[in-house]
């Protein structure tokens, strides 16, 4: 099995975890081929998660831009409020099938933590979620949700106290407790087979969106836009269009205060090749290989790496990666709230902001699909605080 994407990906992990990864790969392929596994997954995606999610023609937003027609893939309407649940459902079904006794996860914005805690409750498994202390503060509503669901939230104060440090802590815990503990990784990062597995579980977004677009517009979209933290919602929607060369795939990285200021989280646009959390990929780091602290107003994008397949696609030009800064994301957030009555997550607001730039340059007959990866309830306090400091 090829574990790399070009030079990227791989399994750069301690020997203690290698047998666990091999077994995970084996069991994943068995599950994938098992009709009963797929049937249970499909059933829960429909009746528990609420799929399929709508593809919604945002007419007022499109009019406001005066160009392409913007369609929103409404992952914010999923149970738990983001795309994350597509993946946690798949992984936790796999964990149960493998006989694992306990779940752990890392989380940034807390959406993946909530989605994992939800599955832990549904399947009656104990769960611990690792979250950077900075994120515990700025995404407090999600900490409360996880605790309501019976999950223990471990606040990590080490390093930059954000997603990267939460992931370090989760990997340490996993090293000491695998294979009884299953590590539910929240994005298309980590060692193989996670990037492949998470892409497969999120691909439902792209497959639905492609069909819905054909049904509603009679054609494929000209462009598909998604924000990129680790890259799971982007890879999920891109997967539906990766064999359609006419569709431009645009990933949006978090520019924070601007890539030139150094305070950003744009790994592809501002990083170099390195190795972190089990994979070779683009990484924000010093020339001596120390990973640098990142910054974005959006906790879910505040990560120094990116899924290895995105790194590969960036090199190939198979997808294009743009940067949206904090202020542009906040403006796009306001615009979507006011024009469409939809409150997007700050992460997703980066994708909306990119659409606001791209749509006016396009013909009225063009179609842009934006992956609205999550809802913004969790961000109210964070946005109020940002506006107080900047406006």
């Amino acid at each position: 099995m090829n574990t790399h994407y070009g030079i990227y990906g791989g399994q750069y992990i301690a020997e203690t975890l290698m047998p666990t990864l091999k077994e995970l790969e084996r069991q994943y392929f068995l599950a994938k081929e098992d009709p009963a596994f797929q049937a249970e997954l499909d059933d829960l995606l429909k009746h528990y998660v609420g799929r399929e999610s709508p593809l919604y023609h945002a007419k007022r937003l499109s009019e406001f831009c005066g160009g392409a027609q913007i369609y929103l893939k409404r992952e914010d309407l999923n149970h738990t409020g983001a795309h994350k649940v597509n993946n946690t459902l798949g992984q936790v079904l796999l964990a149960r099938r493998m006989g694992c006794k306990r779940l752990i996860a890392e989380t940034g914005a807390g959406m993946h933590g909530v989605a994992t805690a939800t599955m832990a409750a549904l399947f009656g498994m104990p769960c611990e979620v690792f979250m950077g202390a900075v994120d515990v503060e700025r995404q407090a509503p999600n900490v409360e949700r996880m605790e309501c669901l019976g999950t223990t939230v471990r606040s990590i104060t080490e390093g930059s106290a954000t997603l990267k440090d939460a992931m370090n802590a989760a990997i340490r815990e996993w090293t000491a407790t695998a294979p009884e503990t299953f590590y539910v990784i929240g994005t298309v990062a980590g060692p193989y087979p996670y990037p492949m597995m998470v892409k497969d579980f999120q691909a439902v977004i792209g497959h639905e969106a492609r069909r819905q677009c054909l049904e509603q517009t009679g054609k494929l979209p000209e462009e598909v836009i998604a924000c990129v933290g680790g890259g799971s919602n982007a890879m999920g929607i891109f997967a539906g269009f990766e064999n359609d060369p006419s569709v431009r795939l645009t990933g949006v990285e978090a520019g924070g205060e601007g890539v030139s200021t150094g305070n950003h989280a744009a790994s592809i646009n501002g990083g170099q090749v390195g190795i972190l959390h089990g994979a070779k990929t683009y990484l924000l780091q010093r020339s001596d290989g120390q990973v640098t602290p990142t910054y974005s107003v959006s906790a879910g994008l505040d990560y120094p790496g990116v899924g290895p397949e995105h790194a590969y696609w960036a090199d190939l030009g198979k997808a294009h990666y743009e940067v949206i800064n904090d202020d542009e994301a906040i403006d796009a957030f306001d615009t979507l709230c006011r024009l469409e009555g939809i409150i997007p997550a700050l992460e997703s607001s980066h994708a909306v902001a990119q659409a606001l730039k791209s749509a006016p340059r396009r013909a009225k007959s063009d179609v842009i699909i934006v992956n609205l990866s999550g809802r913004g309830d969790k961000d109210m306090e964070n946005i109020r605080e940002w506006k107080k400091q900047h406006r």
């Binding site: 301690a14 959390h277 120390q290």
Partner: protein, 262 residues
């Protein structure tokens, strides 16, 4: 014969396990860590594992993680640690020196450039914690070209079949991780250790050393009975903060390395 082989041969002659001390290079600062490493060598360490600090040490417990953080904050990087290694080599021509870190630090330096520099300095080998069998070819080629040992890790999670693949063609020594988990001092060694080690030593063409969790003369002694070498990391790093403590610890560990049943 290479330096690592003669070290283990001497130890066998002296009926003891080799003492391998892991030092977090640059902790608390470069000058002090250079002194601490000298102290370790002068008090009986046979091999020094020079830990290069990394911002995200996924395989390390709190002691080594926070020491690494301090070292980075105080200016340690691979370049100035290599300069330190060169000075240590000049003062201690017979001590084994192994670079120990995470792959990203090595990768960013340039693997070919790094191996060439290590050979020039007289470092004996490299250990990359997050570079398992599946990924090691990338580093193995430059190691071979520059006569460096690439030290592999084997863990209690490793199957005998996998262990065989890992130790095949290995030079230098094999590092057996005593527990499933991360670095850090532990009160006792797992009961299945002796049996696992007996299996591994049978299939390994080179000596097998044991690390993770060994913190005292007693635990060193327990391990010395069934291994070719004993690695002490977190306990040494902790001892470095108090004057005189590092020397005492190393002397105690060295005494613990004596074998009774061989």
């Amino acid at each position: 014969m290479n330096r690592i082989s003669s070290i283990f041969q001497n130890c066998r002659r002296e009926k003891r396990a080799a003492l391998i001390i892991f030092a977090e290079a640059g902790y608390p600062n470069l000058a002090q860590s250079e002194q601490d490493i000298d102290t370790a060598i002068e008090n009986g360490a046979d091999i020094i594992e020079l830990g290069i600090p990394f911002s995200d040490p996924m395989a390390d417990g709190p002691v080594i993680s926070s020491a690494g953080q301090t070292a980075i904050e105080n200016g340690a990087n691979l370049q100035n640690i290599l300069e330190m290694a060169a000075r240590i080599r000049q003062r201690h021509p017979d001590t084994g020196l192994v670079l120990f870190s995470y792959f990203n630090v090595m990768y960013n330096y340039g693997l070919e450039a790094l191996c060439a520099e290590l050979q020039r300095i007289g470092v004996d080998g490299i250990l990359a914690v997050d570079l398992p069998l599946e990924e090691r070819d990338e580093l193995l080629a430059p190691c071979r070209a520059h006569n460096l040992h690439l030290i592999p890790l084997v863990s209690p999670a490793t199957s005998p079949e996998r262990a065989r693949a890992i130790v095949q063609d290995v030079t230098g020594f094999v590092y057996y991780v005593s527990v499933r988990g991360i670095t850090g001092a532990r009160a006792a060694m797992p009961p299945e250790l002796a049996q696992n080690l007996a299996m591994l030593r049978e299939i390994s063409p080179v000596p097998v050393v044991v690390g993770f969790g060994i913190a005292s003369g007693e635990s060193a002694h327990a391990v010395a009975e069934c291994a070719d070498g004993v690695v002490v990391g977190s306990a040494f790093v902790s001892a470095c903060t108090a004057p005189g403590q590092a020397a005492t610890l190393v002397r105690t560990l060295r005494a613990g390395c004596a074998k009774e049943n061989s």
